[in-house]
Symmetry: C2
Subunit: 146 residues, 2 copies
């Protein structure tokens, strides 16, 4: 039975595919998948969610320093987006100096679960991807001396 593992995967996968493609086959207008993907597909959302998941409650500047390369502006924009969709909560403390704490909501934790799966997968399969990329370069970069 060399097909056992594949069979199991196929079964689980086809269930999901069936669900996703029913009733409409992923039409762009109003497609949940597209909508969520556009949201978390931007440059910083997933990173923010991962960091919040990792560190828990964080202040604006803490996030700013942990997320490598992000600008002040984009952190604001990203957090507003995540807050808007209910993934992140924002608590403002009326102090001086002001303090604002961000934290994943329950929905955000749920998203983290999925995103983390993808992240771990990415880490695990990075080798294969790089290998495929290298193989592709060699075969198209230069061919065996005519």
């Amino acid at each position: 039975m060399e097909g056992t593992i594949v069979e199991n995967q196929s079964e689980k996968i086809s269930k999901g595919l069936e669900k996703i493609f029913t009733p409409a086959p992923l039409q762009v207008p109003g497609c949940p998948v597209r909508d969520v993907l556009d949201r978390i597909g931007d440059k910083w959302s997933i990173l923010s969610v991962l960091h919040l998941g990792h560190s828990g409650k964080l202040r604006f500047n803490e996030l700013l320093h942990r997320i490598d390369g992000i600008s002040q502006r984009m952190l604001t924009v990203t957090l507003r987006g995540l807050e808007r969709d209910g993934f992140v909560s924002r608590r403002i403390f009326a102090e001086v100096p002001p303090r604002v704490e961000y934290e994943l909501t329950t929905l955000g934790m749920s998203l983290l679960d999925q995103v983390l799966g993808l992240a771990v997968w990415a880490q695990d399969n990075m080798g294969d991807i790089m290998a495929a990329r290298a193989a592709h370069s060699t075969e198209s970069g230069f061919r065996s001396h005519s």
Copy 2:
């Protein structure tokens, strides 16, 4: 024990987080997570993978008609990218008229598994997201008659 489910999730999640944040905390240069996310985070890659997973082997024009809204150019670009990273195989038949068939590789199927998890999650949680979005609009759109 109202914390049981959360505890279980936390355990599984913290394992993943530990893995992702070790040893470097998601630095941008050379981060696998960022790299893969940039690849599949574009407008059409995930849709293409989902359709190939759903229909199996597909020709260029079949994909073009199934993926709602995609242009010829972007389908080409997307497929080249997926092929480059080893997610999709490309078979050319020397016929007239020419025929080219695309199919998920083993690595592509593996990616499909993750992406599908996200897609199903998106569908399941679309309600909550829309609700959060609506709530956010109401509270910032207009406040109770002053």
